[in-house]
């Protein structure tokens, strides 16, 4: 029987199947960070259990790490990071902590180190684990009880979700990038549209994206309600992986390739749900409300509220229906996060800001996704482009995406952000977030208000 990619990944990891029980799935890689793991390690200790496979477990610090050498995390953040260090040392888990040249946001460093590979199951106590599906892995976020379960047994009991295909076909118009594809999908299906499903992204647009672009699309899967999103591995995937630190080499690489090439949805395999998007009709998107589904094209206006949720969002965002999106002025710009802080994102943003200057009333921040991204960006002089334009150039971490470290919005401040969530208070209590792509964020920083990248001087061609 023809199978979907998700079915192939699922079925090849079932350790045990029994009627009336969830499948017991083997987990090939478990990524750990400081925020959702301490209680799991404590649970193991209390029960007298050990970490079963420290060699399939990798840790980093990202959520509350300081992104400036001038700042120190508060006491309680320091205790949390120290706890991760102690837990990793006791269990023999590799930790890319403060000071490591590989430290970074957990979803940036997995692919970057070649740890994330096609055909794998991968989990992490973080909802944006869906990111890793871009390489053809079954990757999803879990809570702390499940983190403990994986640490103890390297498995998870899971019920098989349904299959959903999101097909994006056609050539992306100029100025429209992977982030706009993600926001376009979510504004179509809604924030609960993917609930109970594993999503496979298909179609010529997805095939045409770089691996980094696919990571952005898969990252935002959870914002559409599905735990996992994936793209079948292809030459783009293999070219990205080859030569990376943990990628197989030599004969093992060839063996792996033979296996990976079979990881595609078979002709005629059925999906429970299918959504089709015409790439040619996508525009640069901007969120106006307090969830990522509340997004419109940059040429649009703040909509009339259609529900109580919309009304609440408008009140929180201090916006009036009918306001042109491009008339919304800004106090802050954030370029960063597991959605959009890879080298390609920084290059796209740097192209826009080169030779220009950040608007005098805007404070703008660039936070590379990892110390490796930071080093690579510096090697090609991107740091200078940003600094000369008046951006702050920071060290790697989650930073203002969720504001667990000192990088937060003040109450009432309005920010164009390349991150993934515009929930109330997400970037700081009372802060107002507009989700955009890296080039749109860069252009907004220069203009001082939201602006259509396609009409930005020097960008049209």
């Amino acid at each position: 029987m023809p199978k979907t990619l998700a079915s192939k990944l699922w079925d090849s990891h079932v350790v045990r199947q029994a009627a009336g029980e969830p499948d017991l799935l083997y987990i090939d890689l478990h990524l750990v960070h400081e925020v959702t793991s301490p209680q799991a390690f404590e649970g193991l200790r209390l029960a007298g259990r050990r970490v079963r496979r420290p060699d399939l477990t990798v840790a980093t610090m990202d959520h509350n790490i300081a992104t400036s050498r001038a700042e120190r995390p508060d006491e309680i953040s320091q205790l949390q990071m120290r706890t991760l260090e102690e837990n990793c040392r006791a269990a023999g888990i590799r930790l890319y902590g403060v000071g490591s040249r590989h430290q970074g946001i957990v979803h940036i460093i997995g692919p970057e180190l070649g740890l994330t590979q096609p055909g794998m199951t991968l989990v992490c106590g973080d909802s944006h684990t869906s990111t890793h599906g871009a390489l053809g892995a079954l990757a999803f976020g879990i809570g702390t009880s499940e983190v403990e379960h994986v640490l103890a047994t390297q498995t998870l009991p899971q019920r098989r979700p349904k299959d959903m295909a999101i097909t994006v076909d056609g050539e992306l118009p100029l100025g429209v990038v992977a982030k706009d594809v993600a926001l376009g999908i979510i504004s179509k299906i809604g924030v609960a549209g993917g609930q109970g499903h594993l999503v496979e992204y298909r179609g010529s647009t997805i095939r045409g994206l770089t691996l980094e672009g696919r990571l952005t699309v898969c990252n935002m899967t959870i914002e559409g309600g599905a735990r996992a999103g994936m793209v079948a591995p292809d030459e783009t995937t293999f070219a990205y992986l080859e030569g990376r630190q943990f990628a197989p080499r030599g004969a093992a690489w060839e063996q792996a390739l033979d296996h990976w090439r079979r990881l595609v949805t078979d002709e005629g395999a059925a999906f429970d749900r299918e959504v089709v998007i015409d790439a040619g009709r996508l525009e640069p998107f901007v969120s106006w409300g307090t969830n990522p589904g509340q997004s419109v094209p940059v040429t649009g206006r703040v909509p009339e509220p259609g529900s109580e949720t919309d009304e609440r969002a408008l009140r929180y965002m201090a916006l009036k229906p009918g306001t042109a999106i491009q008339d919304i002025s800004l106090d802050r710009v954030f370029i960063g996060s597991c959605t959009n802080a890879r080298l390609e994102d920084l290059r796209l943003a740097a192209t826009v800001v080169e030779g220009r200057h950040v608007h005098p009333k805007v404070r703008a921040l660039v936070v590379p996704g990892s110390m490796s991204v930071r080093a690579a960006a510096e090697a090609e002089g991107l740091d200078k482009v940003f600094l000369e334009a008046g951006f702050e150039w920071r060290e790697a971490g989650c930073s203002m995406c969720l504001g667990m470290n000192p990088d937060i919005l003040q109450p009432g401040e309005r920010c164009a952000s390349t991150s993934n969530r515009n929930f109330e208070g997400r970037q700081g209590a009372g802060g107002r977030t507009h989700l955009v792509s890296p080039p749109m964020a860069a252009a907004a920083a220069i203009a001082g208000h939201l602006v259509d990248i396609r009409e930005f001087p020097g960008q049209a061609g």
């Binding site: 083997y26 209680q39 029960a47 949390q80 009991p157 990628a247 929930f423």
Partner: protein
């Protein structure tokens, strides 16, 4: 896990859709390394409003939260169900839940009960509701509503079972599976 068999309690109606886990427990409280004590920070920002449901005298002591669709969307933070449970809630009733949030609830014995939107609306107006996991019914004002939950979770929650312990009984199957894993898959040895 806290076992749950049957519980009767007062309802707190939170009539909002898409309540995300950032609202349930904001990020500044995720820095703690303990599993308890999150209840006082539940809905931290919304509780600044004196009219917020949890601040109103008629809902003091409520132990069943009744709310809108897609409850618990966003972050995977288990701190969200910890906070709801620590505050004193035993069950959450909604037309739908986000996938990760629902799983997190099931792991700690905070019962997520999914019912049709019209039924949830009725329950928001009830004073006291009984949730019976043994019979799979929610009752209020003499009317019973059936709900569904998978049998594995139902038994685990009723008995307060340790799921890790259950999986540990499958050690032979896990070891056998491990012996079939391809050699090229990455392993990472030791601290750095």
């Amino acid at each position: 896990m806290t076992p749950f068999v049957k519980h009767s309690g007062r309802v707190a109606p939170l009539d909002k859709a898409d309540v995300d886990t950032d609202q349930i427990i904001p990020k500044q409280f995720l820095k703690r390394i303990e599993r308890s004590g999150f209840g006082e920070f539940l809905f931290f920002d919304w509780r600044k409003d004196p009219d917020f449901v949890l601040n109103r005298p008629e809902y003091q002591g409520a132990s069943i939260l009744v709310t809108g669709p897609n409850f618990g969307c966003g972050s995977s933070r288990e701190h969200a169900p910890w906070a709801i449970q620590d505050y004193g809630f035993r069950a959450v009733i909604a037309p739908s839940f986000s996938d990760i949030f629902r799983t997190n609830c099931l792991k700690i014995g905070l019962l997520p009960v999914q019912l049709p939107e019209a039924t949830v609306r009725e329950l928001m107006r009830a004073d006291e509701v009984t949730v019976d996991l043994d019979r799979l019914v929610v009752s209020a004002d003499g009317v019973e509503h059936r709900f569904e939950i998978d049998e594995f979770s139902r038994v685990n929650i009723m008995e307060g079972l340790d799921e890790i312990g259950l999986t540990e009984r499958r050690e032979d199957a896990i070891t056998a599976f491990e012996s079939t894993r391809p050699d090229w898959m990455p392993t990472v040895k030791g601290m750095r």
